[in-house]
């Protein structure tokens, strides 16, 4: 039984793409066939983590939404770009990084239903165990849809006042969509915070299971999205947190 997992946050800059890429990496190392879709059409970025540059992009999600190709034509095998031995596979469906194409799709909009069908199709055609959706931040039609069709929702939040209110709304809305599994990951936590205290307080207020509290990491900053952190630093506390999320998704 395959799983569609949305990785979402109310605001940008929480580490969504990074987390999605890491989850994909870790799942594939365990032997899973993982698809990753960058639905952040406005500001695509996850391709960088997989070292996929413009010259290597054959088709993007934009092409599919414009009816130019089938969804599986957009799936790029990035398993060899992980920098680690994986028993499984990672396929990336990137969003176009050409400014013109981004502007066009934002201007004209797209068929959200078509996007949804695309998710379904790629899971069956590529035989995926997981499809990770790297969503656009905030609550809008596309993100609501992603959440609605997901089997699991990972909500990422930073301990920042600007994130709290919006995340609370997101949690409530997701609950109303009957998402089977919802979990939170608190990211970029300052050194002076007690991680257990953070977990406890967030769970108390949002009534959602907090699977990982990730401390702010200098090494992560230094890596600067040039690779998959958890595969480079298998024993780092941040990696341990990410593995806890993986375990929860696998369970």
């Amino acid at each position: 039984m395959s799983k569609i997992v949305s990785v979402h946050s109310f605001r940008g800059g929480t580490g969504k793409s990074n987390t999605t890429a890491n989850l994909a990496g870790l799942l594939s190392v365990d032997g899973a066939r993982v698809g990753v879709v960058d639905t952040d059409i406005q500001s695509p970025g996850i391709h960088i983590l997989f070292n996929l540059d413009e010259s290597q992009m054959v088709h993007s999600l934009n092409d599919y939404l414009w009816g130019k190709c089938a969804i599986k034509d957009c799936a790029h095998d990035v398993t060899d770009h992980l920098g680690a031995q994986a028993k499984g596979k990672v396929f990336l469906i990137p969003s176009s990084i050409k400014a013109g194409e981004i502007a066009r799709i934002l201007r004209e909009g797209y068929d959200v239903g078509l996007l949804n069908d695309g998710f379904r199709d790629v899971v069956s055609e590529m035989n995926l165990d997981y499809l990770l959706i790297d969503t656009h931040p905030g609550l809008n039609e596309e993100t609501l849809l992603s959440i609605a069709i997901s089997d699991a929702l990972v909500i990422i939040m930073r301990p920042d006042q600007q994130d709290y209110q919006g995340t609370a709304v997101t949690v409530d809305v997701a609950r109303k969509l009957d998402v089977p599994k919802m979990l939170m990951l608190i990211n970029k936590i300052p050194q002076s915070f007690d991680l257990d205290d953070v977990r406890h307080r967030v769970e108390q207020i949002y009534k959602v299971k907090v699977v990982a509290t990730l401390p702010h990491s200098e090494e992560m900053m230094a890596l600067a999205s040039s690779g998959i952190f958890s595969l480079k630093y298998p024993d780092h506390p941040v990696t341990k947190g990410l593995k806890a999320v993986v375990a929860e998704l696998q369970g």
């Binding site: 379904r120 899971v123 002076s192 205290d197």
Partner: protein, 312 residues
């Protein structure tokens, strides 16, 4: 100074008989100036009933006083760097331990205990006994196996029976010359059972409350069995300016450390403020639309169908 043979002589024992009384007094004066006065030099003279005797008595008193002040000054010169080091100490356990070790050093105390006050209870944090070679708490890695001291009795009255809690409640230093003397006003049963178990003989006690900048008691320092510097005999503790200085500096360092920790803990607490009514309103704005209801139905339908299946 030289005697009649022209030989330098400084040793009182061998040459006291050869030096004239006045010369001896002059020697004593030199020693006083150098801060090295030893009372034996004038011991024979101070009982004399004549002018020499009077002069000897004056110089002797002066000498003892100066020697004492020199000793104090030297100790203070040691205490001030310790105080400075304590304020900079980042390791809490080392801070506590240094406090006790140095206080023992200054008073030649064989044993020392440090309590910290937490919620009306004095908890043992450091325990050291040189003769028994015991170190508990601090950086020793050994847990303290003693019950904490309650400041208040079960009926709410102040616990004056225990010397540490008395010192804390009264903000007063307490000196007990002999814990086993019937005149000792405190309950030393804990001490006595410790002695029985270990074969130790706790005798003289000095119990000092440690105060923070708001004059609140943050802990109690207890020193046990002061030893005479020369004979090693157990003697009572006396009021000591040098110890007072050390306690002041150490208390300031300890208080500073505790305050900083508290502040850090306050800042580090995650403050999540959510406007709940606003939240409910925003949620309703999204979920009470027809679009949302449609979405929800579609989603449930998909799940009911077992939507996300792989084909193979």
């Amino acid at each position: 100074m030289r005697n009649s043979d022209g030989i330098l002589s400084f040793m009182p024992n061998s040459s006291t008989k050869k030096i004239t009384p006045l010369a001896r007094i002059m020697q004593a004066v030199n020693e006083v100036e150098a801060g090295e006065y030893k009372p034996d030099l004038l011991a024979n003279l101070i009982d004399q009933k004549d002018d020499i005797g009077q002069l000897a008595r004056v110089v002797d008193t002066m000498g003892r006083g100066v020697a004492f002040r020199y000793k104090q000054l030297r100790l203070l010169q040691r205490v001030i760097p310790i105080g400075v080091a304590l304020s900079a100490e980042k390791d809490f356990n080392r801070l506590l331990e240094t406090l006790v070790v140095e206080a023992q050093g200054v008073t030649h105390a064989d044993a020392g205990t440090l309590y910290l006050l937490e919620d009306k209870v004095l908890k043992f944090v450091i325990l050291r006994n040189a003769s028994l070679k015991i170190t508990m708490g601090g950086t020793s890695g050994n847990d303290i196996a003693f019950e904490p001291v309650q400041l208040y009795n079960k009926n709410g009255s102040e616990n004056h029976a225990n010397v540490a809690s008395y010192a804390a409640l009264k903000h007063q230093k307490v000196i007990v010359s002999d814990a086993y003397a019937t005149s000792a006003n405190f309950d030393f049963s804990g001490t006595k059972s410790f002695d029985q178990r270990t074969g130790y003989r706790s005798k003289s006690f000095l119990t000092i409350p440690l105060e923070g900048q708001d004059k609140n008691v943050i802990g109690v320092l207890q020193l046990i069995n002061a030893q005479d510097a020369d004979t090693g005999e157990i003697i009572p503790f006396t009021s000591d300016n040098v110890l007072d200085a050390l306690v002041l500096l150490a208390s300031a360092a300890l208080d500073g450390y505790i305050r900083e920790e508290k502040l850090r803990a306050e800042i580090a607490k995650l403050q999540i403020e959510i406007n709940e009514s606003h939240r409910a309103k925003q949620v309703a704005e999204i979920t009470e639309t027809a679009y949302f209801k449609e979405l929800k139905d579609k989603a449930n339908e998909l799940r009911a169908r077992g939507g996300n299946k792989k084909t193979n």
